[in-house]
Amino acid sequence: MSIASKVKEALVGLKAGRVTLDYPAQPRPAPENFRGRPIFDAQKCIGCAGCANNCPAREILVFDVCQEIRILKYLGRRCTYCGRCADVCPEKAITMSREFETATNKIGDVQQRLDLFMSTCQRCGRCFKEPSPLEQLKLKGYRVDDLENERWIFRSRAYLESEPVVDDIKIELD
């Protein structure tokens, strides 16, 4: 049998020597422009919901409790770490951190929830300057996404003109 090629294969391994990194002991930081967990900076965020519109996984939910307060909830469950929200944010409030060690036993740990004071803003969407015409704000005005079972409530002209696509949620406020 081809003993020569067997020896060569064994040599390939032995020449490389033991390369195992002792990971949990020595830390292995991610490179600089790594797309880790997005961090939402509440000071800079103006509540324009531009990131919510451009998130492919549709997991930044926006819920207008009332005239003055807008809740922006980043779920982190199905986030694909693509960095689109950080690209389109007009105020650079979202930064892609270098954090990747996000293992947990309760999925609620990775979410971030911001209650933003909007005073009398009618959420008309003009404050969101989109980088290119392809990223226009799809949903303007008040938004009542479903925070409990973490779903976007979506009205799109691509669909039936009048009634909403998803069964409208009934809000029984206290």
């Binding site: 049998m1 081809s2 020569a4 090629s5 067997k6 060569k8 294969e9 064994a10 040599l11 390939v12 391994g13 490389a16 390369v19 991610a30 490179p31 422009n33 790594f34 797309r35 451009n54 998130c55 492919p56 549709r58 694909t80 770490y81 693509c82 960095g83 689109r84 690209d87 892609m96 290119s132 015409p133 392809l134 990223e135 226009q136 799809k138 979506f154 799109s156 002209r157 691509a158 669909y159 039936l160 696509v165 998803v166």
Partner: protein, 559 residues
Amino acid sequence: MIAREKLDQLKAGAGSAILRAVLPSDRCVFVFVEPSALKKVCQYVFRDLDARYVTSIGADDRPFSGSFLVAHNFAFDRDHLLCSILTEIPADNPVVDSISEVVPPANWAERELRDLVGIKLNGHPYPKRLVLPDGWPEDSHPLRKDVPWNFVPPDYDDEREYEFGDPPEGCTVVPFGPFHPTLDEPAHFRLYVDGERVRGCEYRGFMAHRGIEKLAESVLTYNDIPIMAERICGICGCVHNVTYAQAVESAAALQAPPRAEYLRTILLELERLHSHLLWVGLACHIVGFDTLFMQCFRIREPVMWVAEKITGNRKTYGLCVIGGVRRDLTVELKAELQQVLDRLETEWKAVTGAVLKDRNIQQRTCGVGVADRKLVKEAGLVGPVARAAGVDIDCRRDHPYAAYDRVAFDVITAADGDVWSRVVVRAREVFESIKIIRQCLEKMERGPIQLTLKDELPAGRMGMSSVEAPRGECHHFVITGEDNRPRRWRVRAPTYQNLQGVPMMIKDQQLADMTITLGSIDPCFSCTDRLETIDLKSGATRVWSPEELLKLGRNKQTL
């Protein structure tokens, strides 16, 4: 103007059937024909003009043109031309005659458009369900415009099992179940095994069908879809990303800046590097040679690290947006990339030197899973599987895209089309990719990496693009639409065609070779999203009844 000559050839052959033709560029031509003449024209193109069948598309255009649209895409590799033959079918009774008898590779794509868009095919040899989950009722078709993306029909019953054909006489059924150590994704094979010989197989795929085309038409916008396109398949994500971006750009007549094209070429080749290294490792793992599996993955890690530094993620690069690329290559990244390539080349030379002369592996792979030139033509096989059979097709040279026309490389082919020649072809293609990346790094000039778009993309335009994925030709077809999202987006992954050849490859083979033959086409079922069942003319007694299979699945047996 090659497209003009080909169109005249078509007019000569098909005569009056052609209604109108659209020639957006010298690379692709769209020909509208009457529904009645579709089969004749497709036969003429596939048989007489010796075109290669690519895919078929069914689209529901009722809100816009009031009719259904069926398109069959062919590729003329020697003339560097993609040709699409389209027909419009009246909305009230969407019936078209199927071309699967004359163009065998079209078998699956047609059954898929029957499932998803509800266009009836008369004369289809095997009109079984293909795409939707087992319990889906017959009359509901998700890709129609009047149904939202998360609509599940009320009479969807979970208990209905897919009715398999019964096995041939004297064969036991081996369920090669959804979860198998060598299968990366869920795919259920029913192998008809006689002793150690596999007589035939029946495959119920589509467990990875996630309805991505419906999402693209209803919820996501132009610049969200590349992120989803990247997650069609975990290994060739960048390929789908670039193909989609190029398809939309060709539809909207945009031209990405040259630096972006060089960046796209570099990252496509980087992905081919890590995909081929991964495959050689996995093939050795399937054959039981774990040391080489570990060595291949060890050599591959630096490629993943440098990709992570350039794009921010090891595997899903998030590279393209419509009109360019999101991130640039700095000078120190370029130097680091060259170091990684040099080290990779020396180590891979050592490994290929050892493997290509290793008779032990040759014993397990020579003469196994043979796919000759005739099977390549009949099943429309693409990529390394076709090149291993001596068929000289490669999208990078036949349908040049990105910066491939400014780069010199040669296409590797082998002779006898078995698993061993596929190993050889893939191992040698690694060196070609390294050569391409080096040339791109030298020729790259400074410049913008994204196009500045003035207004929204025009609606109703058609575009298609073919990119050479590590597994073969990956083809996307796009019809642009309003509201910043495409009207129809069709994905045809290379494994879609290659898997049609597997039943013919494993016929009368050893059971132990089943896994290595299936592995040799480097299947990516999540890429495929759609698959086919081979039929076995069998009237013999039933060895395993479906109830037994259900019982097998129900109680505490492993599947």
